[in-house]
């Protein structure tokens, strides 16, 4: 009986109910889409970092501190023995200076094992055997410095003995990667090239590793994926705080909209409720009918949202959110020209449950006060 009356009230509400349901469905789809965008960004960024640089984790030479370029001179050791070459990618780091179009710019020099196939970094362009003094760089750095493939670039560095050396290098490749941390402020050279330049044969600063982790001595520190991604995750968490605020704001707006409608409807329908009381509907039944009416509008919103939102969100996840070119300069990892949302079942379920819970509360509150009135007062 309660369900029948609630449904009748909802359907009888006509345009008012329809608007309520539609607005709720918009809020629901927006929250899921908005959240999906950020989840997609995070997953794309983390996957990119893993595929392009981190692998399963990295062994760092014990003195290596990526935030202290002065540590680079000492933070290198001979590659430990017994490491499966196919499961690791070696890196040698130093600082240097480049002179693009006559300007001077400090830069990080990164030597990477040319023959590696473990990471997506296109190191084949840097093969030492096929010619020396080659480098590659990411498209963001190239764009910023106005450099193109085939350009020649003067590079200055300091070898292990402390003497400065300089040489002209050819830009053999400009790579496009969603990972900012292997692009900005650095140029990539072949590992053999770097070792020769620094006079540091066989030495590495760190190496990425995939597979069962070997136990190494105290000279090497294992950095897990989680540790290596922690900085990005911290940045992401800060951004998520903003997203969460939006999430709460949207929910709050939904709540206000429904509460407003419900309160208005309840007080407008006070006589109606009084009449129901006069006819014998008990307080508890009145609360149930009108609370259920709110809940039913939530469930209808889920249905309506699924109807128009699912194709929209799927299309959105396939084609992504196109970003303006200037976004490249924002220093955000994880996407190139578009953000591709990914939707988690958890957030879909959570949003649906949360919206319906809110609906229950905001439907319950106004009707509770009316149901406490005497029928005579409600009928006035």
């Amino acid at each position: 009986m309660v369900l029948k009356l609630a449904w009748r009230n909802l359907v009888g509400g006509g345009v008012r109910s329809l608007l309520n349901v539609f607005i709720l469905s918009v809020v629901l789809v927006t929250i899921i889409g908005f959240h999906g965008l950020f989840v997609g960004w995070q997953r794309n960024a983390e996957n990119g970092m893993i595929r392009w640089h981190i692998a399963d984790g990295q062994y760092w030479q014990k003195d290596y501190d990526p935030y202290d370029p002065f540590s680079f001179d000492v933070a290198r050791s001979a590659m430990p023995k017994g490491i499966n070459d196919a499961a690791s990618v070696e890196f040698l780091i130093d600082q240097g200076v480049i002179y693009p179009q006559g300007r001077m710019k400090n830069i990080i020099l990164k030597g990477v094992e040319e023959e590696q196939v473990l990471l997506e970094l296109p190191t084949e362009y840097l093969r030492f055997k096929e010619g020396r003094y080659k480098l590659m760089l990411g498209y963001r750095t190239a764009k910023k410095l106005g450099l193109s493939e085939g350009d020649r670039l003067m590079l200055r560095w300091r070898d292990v003995h402390g003497s400065f050396d300089a040489r002209e290098f050819e830009i053999v490749h400009i790579f496009t990667s969603p990972v900012l941390t292997i692009d900005q402020g650095q140029v990539w050279l072949g590992l053999e090239q770097m070792r020769e330049m620094l006079d540091a044969p066989g030495e590495v600063t760190y190496f990425s590793y995939r597979g069962l982790r070997p136990k190494l001595g105290a000279g090497w520190i294992w950095k897990t994926q989680d540790e290596l991604l922690s900085e990005f995750r911290a940045l992401f968490a800060a951004k998520m705080a903003g997203v969460s605020f939006m999430y709460v704001l949207l929910l709050f707006l939904a709540m206000i909209a429904v509460f407003d409608t419900q309160v208005l409807a309840m007080f407008k329908r006070r006589r109606e409720i009084g009449m129901m009381m006069a006819l014998g509907l008990r307080s508890g039944q009145i609360i149930k009918v009108f609370t259920l009416e709110g809940l039913l509008s939530g469930l209808l919103a889920v249905g309506l949202g699924a109807l128009w939102g699912t194709p929209l969100l799927l299309r959105f996840s396939k084609y992504g959110l196109r970003l303006p070119e200037m976004m490249d300069n924002y220093g955000i990892d994880g996407f190139l020209d578009a953000m591709y949302p990914q939707y988690s079942l958890k957030i879909v379920v959570l949003t649906i449950v949360l919206i319906n819970l809110i609906l229950l509360v905001v439907s319950y509150l106004p009707v509770r006060s009316i149901s406490k009135m005497s029928p005579v007062s409600a009928l006035k």
């Binding site: 009888g12 009449m275 009381m277 006069a278 014998g280 008990r282 307080s283 005579v376």
Partner: protein
């Protein structure tokens, strides 16, 4: 005749500031099954208050009011709701129909509260709608009906469950003469057919014409009962 309502030494007070206003004073009345009676009197004489107490929508301040053998002031909200749901029908001056429901749904409402089975329910609703002559309007909503038609829906809703008592508070106040007479004739017929007790509150001469018993109330006191 079976006695349905018994009122003894009943007073009804309303607090006003630090004092009180006595709306009903020392009322003593009995109503028997099948009566077609009315409480008449000028506005503010306490007619509606008396009707509300009889209908267990309100309670007296002092005295005794027994409806169907139950003391109204001793009923819990739940018990009062059940009494109204099972034994009393209401007709109000402003119809008080549920605007989002159709005529059929409005009339069906009291039966839903009584958990009447769908098949029987439909039969009873159709019969009540037919009694009041609105068979062709069963799918209309109140906004699509005239005042007279709305009041007929209210009557159908009041009598659909065939209650022992129907309380009608100024049922013709918003109607023209023709509609008033039509509605009153309908109620007389129902009273004769179903033996339902009708108690009106009115100061409308048209209604008074139809009453078999008139109880005159002035300033909260019964001054005449014949």
């Amino acid at each position: 005749m079976e006695q349905l309502i018994s009122i003894r030494n009943m007073f009804k007070d309303y607090p006003i500031g630090l004092g009180k206003f006595t709306a009903l004073k020392d009322i003593n009345l009995d109503f028997e099954a099948g009566e077609f009676s009315g409480i008449v009197g000028p506005s503010g004489s306490g007619k509606t208050t008396l009707l509300n107490i009889i209908g267990s929508l309100d309670v007296q301040s002092k005295g005794e009011v027994k409806v169907m053998g139950r003391e109204v002031s001793e009923l819990t909200r739940k018990e009062a709701a059940r009494l109204r749901s099972e034994h009393i029908g209401f007709i109000f001056q402003t119809y008080n129909l549920l605007p989002v429901y159709t005529v059929f749904e409005n009339v069906e409402f009291p039966l839903l509260l009584m958990d009447v089975k769908p098949g029987i329910r439909k039969e009873m609703v159709d019969k009540a709608i037919e009694w009041v002559g609105l068979k062709d309007k069963r799918k209309s909503r109140p906004a699509q009906l005239s005042g007279g038609e709305c009041q007929r829906v209210a009557i159908a809703r009041a009598i659909v469950k065939e209650p022992q008592i129907v309380l009608a508070d100024e049922p013709t106040a918003n109607l023209d003469a023709e509609n008033s007479h039509h509605i009153l004739r309908t109620m007389v017929e129902l009273n004769e057919k179903l033996k339902t007790t009708f108690i009106f509150s009115t100061h409308d001469a048209k209604v008074i014409e139809y009453l078999r018993r008139k109880i005159t109330l002035v300033d909260g006191r019964v001054v005449e009962d014949n």
